[in-house]
Each structure stands twice: as structure tokens, then as C-alpha cells.
């Protein structure tokens, strides 16, 4: 019997899970059809803040307050809430999953794609740790020779917030958003921000796959075409 093959995004997400597990992260998951609370409010995205324009969201017809999640940060929020409720002060989570944005599709944009999202909290979890973890991850995924840079950015759920850039094959690529969890987010999931701090990050998995293997069109990944199973 000839063995079957796995989709490239599965190979990549399994590898991501292995790398993050070795760094002490527990795999988390959450629903794709999510409440507005876990997708936006808990993450400090205010109702009328222009930041909600930053992602064009699929709202569900006839179900007030339900959305197709725009990031897997919902899984992170749910997991942090779980350990906060259990009275724990530290933990780390990683999740890979499908997310949705209502935008026109082309070679680099899809209405559905995969995101990798993670967070670590504790009494002394620092930005230096965030840098360490992401550097380790990208080295393992893309090769030891990569260079990583944190450039100032803004996401409502973190402060300070960054765009993470990777220099890969002599090109700078924007690969993730990241930062230190905003005190309001820590409060929303049940931590005391004076006692617990931490970092969070999230970015497209498809983009990593496209960069790593030179896949020219994101749409190839979702057409059910076996010709993408090349690895």
C-alpha cells in the first residue's frame, strides 16, 4: 500500500506545534464560528474604534454578535481565561487554525487562510522572551541564517506592539504581529495585570509556506488539488 500524503499547511502546522511544544507551549484551539467577545471585545478592540476597520469581518446573518474568527487569538484568549479561572499565574499556548477575512481574493489574499497564534504569561515573561521564542521558531522553520526585527506597530491587544520582520533569502518580509499583552486584555481574561504579564503573537501560516517553498498563489492551497501535496 502506497502511503498517502499531507497538505503542505498540515506539515507546517505540525512542525510549528513540535517547535512550540519543545518551548513549553500547550496546543490550544477554539471555534471558527466565534462570539464577538472572544474575537474582539476580550482583546480590547473597542466597539467603535477604527481598529475594527483593520479587519473586514464576516458577520453571521441572523446571529447577533457572531463572527467567523478573524484570528486564532480567540483560542489564546479562551486558554488564558481557563488558566486564570483555575488560579494559575503562568502558562503558554499555541494554536494553528483557519481564520476568515472579507476581502477580495488574489494571488496573495484569500477569504480563508491559516494563522499561527500564541501567548505566554507569567510573573516575569518579557519582551526579550518574545524575541527569543520567535527567533527560535523562524530559525527552525526557515533556516538558521534568518534575521529577525521588531518594528513598532499597533494592535489593540498588545502594548508595546510590533510588526515582526524576517530577512529570508535577502528579502525583508512582514510575518507577524506581536507584543506584550495589554493590561486590559489580561484583566478581561481574569488576570491581575499587576501580578501577571506576558506576550502574544500571531501571523499567517500560508505566508510562511509561500515564502519557504516559493508557492506563487495562495489559492492553490484551498482548491482541493493534489498537485499541492509536493512535500
Amino acid at each position: 500500500m502506497q502511503r498517502g500524503t499531507l497538505h503542505p499547511l498540515t506539515l507546517l502546522s505540525d512542525e510549528a506545534y513540535r517547535i512550540f511544544s519543545s518551548l513549553g507551549f500547550t496546543i490550544a484551539n477554539g471555534p471558527e464560528l466565534e462570539t464577538e467577545w472572544y474575537n474582539f471585545d476580550a482583546l480590547n478592540v473597542a466597539k467603535d474604534h477604527p481598529a475594527r476597520d483593520m479587519q473586514d469581518t464576516f458577520w453571521i446573518k441572523g446571529q447577533e454578535g457572531k463572527v467567523l474568527r478573524t484570528h486564532t487569538t480567540n483560542a489564546t484568549a479562551r486558554s488564558l481565561e481557563r488558566i486564570a479561572k483555575a488560579g494559575k499565574h503562568e502558562g503558554a499556548f499555541i494554536s494553528v487554525g483557519k481564520v476568515f477575512r472579507n476581502e477580495a481574493t488574489d494571488a496573495t489574499h484569500e477569504a480563508q487562510f491559516f494563522q499561527i497564534d500564541g501567548a505566554m504569561v507569567g510573573e516575569h515573561v518579557t519582551l526579550a522572551h518574545l524575541k527569543g521564542v520567535l527567533l527560535e521558531f523562524y530559525k527552525k522553520i526557515l533556516g538558521e541564517e534568518i534575521v529577525i526585527e521588531f518594528r513598532p506597530s499597533f494592535f489593540p491587544f498588545v502594548e508595546p506592539g510590533f510588526e515582526v520582520f524576517i530577512k529570508f533569502r535577502n528579502r525583508w518580509l512582514e510575518v507577524m504581529g506581536a507584543g506584550m499583552l495589554h493590561p486590559q486584555v489580561l484583566r478581561n481574561v481574569g488576570f491581575d495585570p499587576d501580578k501577571v504579564q506576558g506576550f502574544a503573537f500571531g501571523g499567517g501560516l500560508d505566508r510562511i509556506a509561500m515564502v519557504k517553498w516559493d508557492i506563487p498563489d495562495i489559492r492553490f492551497l484551498y482548491q482541493g488539488d493534489l498537485r499541492v501535496n509536493q512535500f
Partner: protein, 595 residues
Amino acid sequence: MNMIISYNWLKEYVPTLPDAKALADVFMYHLCEVESIQERGGDTIFDLNILPNRAHDLLSHQGIARELAGQLGISFKDPTVLYKTPISKETALSVVLHTKECRRYTARIIRNVKVQPSPQWMATHLQSIGARSINNVVDATNIVLFDCGQPCHAFDAKKLSNESITVRMAKKDEAMTTLDGKAISFLETDMVIADDDGVLAIAGVKGGTKAEVDTNTVDIILEVANFAPVGVRKTARRIGLLTDAAKRFENDLSPDLAIRAMQQLSALIAELCPDAVFEDIVDVYPAPQEYRQVSFSLSRVNTVLGATITSEDVEAILRSYGFIFSRVGESFSVDVPPLRLDLVGEHDMIEEIGRIYGYEKIIPVLPDSKTPVEQNEIVQRIHAARRELVEDGYKEVYTYTFTKKGDIQVAYGAKGKEYIRTNLSEGLRSSYELNRQNAPLLGQREIKLFEIGAVFSTEGNEVINVAYADNDGVVEESLATFTEGMDLSLEDIPVSLSTEKFVPWSVYPFVVRDIAVWSNEADRELLQSIVATFASEHCVRPPELFDSFEKEGRISIAYRFVFQAQDKTLTDDEVNTTMQTLYNAIVQSGAFEIR
């Protein structure tokens, strides 16, 4: 939020600015993304993507200049001391606010202005950032807007019913035509500026034609106000007028800025119209902005950033930004400048210090986690299901969540993708059909596929299903059912990720040709080598040996070849010609007979 910045304009505030190239790095590593840099007419134009938390104060040349001065430790030329305060006399202008949505309204009458083309420097400033020069009065309001970030407006005083301005919510069925000729009908949730007869302007968005300044205007009323963000945003979006003014108000401006802008605008008009007669500023400001202090400790800065910043570093940063602060040991208390609405708590100061100090100086450290990693049962089940299917020869595909039909509909979905799937089977059936047609390309007799993913229904909400397809059809089960009794504890075998590159496929049709050859046992390898060489030169995949049998001491061997061009549809003739070279090679070897 994009802001177009002229290098020459900036330089008026920070004369010792480094060159444009060096500036780009300062922006990128300490402030915001630079979307583009263009050399234009002896100037360099930056398109900056200002972050939402700094849209209060950085959608302006002064704001950017102040930021750069702090970042680079160079001097900032404070413009306010340069403003000539025009002598003014008492005014009868009345301003009444009927809504809290207007947080401050400053206005002043200026009589005897002369409306004419702007001086060259003003026209150049506006043109450099892509704005149009209209006349000196209108241009002055725009210069102040792009200079300090405060929207300003000028009305022709004689066109008002009397010298009295009201800020109120619109009445039902009220209407107005904007300066650019757009007819607007209002809702009662829209805030407007009005005289006794009707609407003069949409508050914070756009002026109307009624009191438009033109070349015959002699008396003007300047408006420099502060409107609450949410209302302006809703109105601007509803009527589709995202003006430069609306963009700034919707990001929340400090009311403190209004009076400074009024002084700047007045000084500019005094310079442009030496004969103008100024009346006193009317300033209605019911609930003045409260001034804040923010405290932070150095140890907290270092605990969050994982850095070793010293008190001296912090002091140097605060000083170069002109912050007024006090320090007791490692505790700092900062008087927040009124325009810095983003600085509210300690975490904001940690970001401020980190950003200015430089994130590149923070050394990566791997965390030393003591918490054991927990198992995730859903992921274990997914892995178990995959393992089983792959071992049975099934190949994994991903298909679309969006479908034409389903139970749950998304708002504003693309046509034919308005619903989310209730099952995986339909997507998998299309996938099966696609791959079955491509079977020769894939070198596959039998197509065996699977997908694992979430499906959605009104009753079940969201469930993870497993579906697999083969010659016998499609089977779909819930993940729980499919993995019942499976060993979930099996570790995945780590595979190292391929370092090969993806090979894109041609969008043109492929053509299949078969050949059958009589051979002797001894010459099989020679034949194999001829067809392999041929296929590597002309085909998209290696030859497939699809049939072989023995008869009367000879072997019949049949191969299949797949042809496909990257750039065109191959014709029969082209493929026949190519196949002929194979026939020739086989015949010339003398060992075979083509059946």
C-alpha cells in the same frame, strides 16, 4: 492612517534634520511604517502609515517634527512664539452649543480680508503633499490643518443670516450641498453647524455652499472646533465623505489643540491680509480637558521589556522629548502633554520608553518554562485520524469553507460564497472529480482523498468532521466517531520539512500517449533507459509502466507519457511529432518492435 509629509516642511521645525534616507530608518524602527518615499520638485515626500494610537498627534507636520526632534535629540523650533498676535477688538459674534458632541468651539470674525491667490510658499507646501491651492483664506485653513493637525474652516460672514453660530444635531429632512457639490440629506444623528436659517456645514466633515468663501468675500468667520470622534465617524462614513478633517476627528483630537490652531491661523491671515480687522476669539469650552500625570517605575519597564535600561537612560529620553517629569529613586511621574491622548497608564510609558530606547537593543532570551505541556485531545484525535488515513493511502486536501448553500449565511459574502459549509462531502466530491481528471498527471490509477475540518449547521453549530473519498464514493463522519477506539497517545514521527521548491503547474491541458513495445527480457533495461530519457526531455512526469505480459518468449511492455506545455495548448500534431522521436529512438536501437 496615512499622512503625507514633506521633508522641506518638516525642516522648518527641525532645521538640523538628517537626510531623507536616514529619516526613513528612524521612522521604521522607532515610529511607524514608511509606505513610500518620493523625490519631487526639490523635496522628498514620505507617505507614513501613522499608527492608530498616535493619530491624535501625528497626522501633522508639527507632530512628526516634534517626534523626530525627541528621537534624534535635535532642537525643535516652537512655532507658537513666532505667531504675531493681531490686535483685536470686541465682538458680537455668538456661538451656542446644543450638543455635548461638540467639545470646544472657537470662532472669530475677521473683517476686510482680501481673497486672492496664495503666495508661492503656501501653494508649494500644499502641492508638495498633494493638496490643491484655492485662495489665500481657504489655503490658510488647510496649511494649519496639515501643519498642526487641527481642521479649520472659514465662512463668509455676510452669507450668514446674522452673526450667530449654532452647533446642533440636524433636524429631520434638513439638507445641504457640500463645497464639492454633493447633496446631503441629514439624519437626526448628524451634527451640523447652522445659522438661524439652516445648515452651514457638516460638523467635522465638510463645509456647505451657503457660506462659501469666494473672491468677493470681505468678512470671514473662522471656525476651529473639537468634535467627538464617534459621531463624526458615523456621519462621514454614512455619506461617504472621509475628508482630511473627518479622518482627524474620528481619531480623537485634543481640544487643547483648537485654540493653538486658532492663534496660528489668525497669525497667518494677519500676514496674508495686512488690512484685516480682527475681532476677539469666542471660545466655548464647557468641559475643559483634564491634565494628567502618569507614573511608572524603571523596574517595571525592565521587567516588561527584559532590558537593562538605567534611570539615566530614561531621564535622557524624557528630556529630549521635552516631557516635564519628576523622579524619586526609580519612580518617575510625567506630566502628559495635552496632545498625547495615548499616554494613559504605566504600560503606555513602557512602550514609549522602549520605542525610543530602541527595540533592537533588547537581547532575545529563551524562556525557561516550568509549566508542563498539556495534551490537547482534539488535536490528538485529528492526528490519529490523519495517521490512519495516510497509512491507508489517502491524500489530504483543503477545500473552501464558503459555499453556495448552507444553514448559516455570512453578511456581505461574495457571490456564490454566501454560506458556510454544512459538510465536507460536497467540497471533497469536486476535489475528487478534479483529481480524477488529473489522474494521469498525478500518475495515479485510483484517487483517494481526505479532509478534516469544521462544518456548521443551525442545530449542531460547529463540529469537526472527517471525510474521505475513493472509487466507492464519499464517507463523512464526525471526528469523534471516526477516531473512536483509536490510540491517541501515539507520538507523531517527526519529519524534517522539505527544502525543495514548489513546482507550479501549467494551466494548459495535458495530453496522454501510450506506447507498447515487444522486447526480450535481456533488453528491458535498455528500453527503460530510452523511455526515461525521452520523458525527462519532453514530458511533465516520468513514464508510467502500465502494462506488461509475456507471450511466445517475448514481453510486451506498455508505457504512458503525459505532455503539457507551460505556455500553450499542445496540438495533436505537435505531440505526434514529439512521439515520432521516441519511435525512432526505439527502432534505431534495433532491439525492439513497436506493437
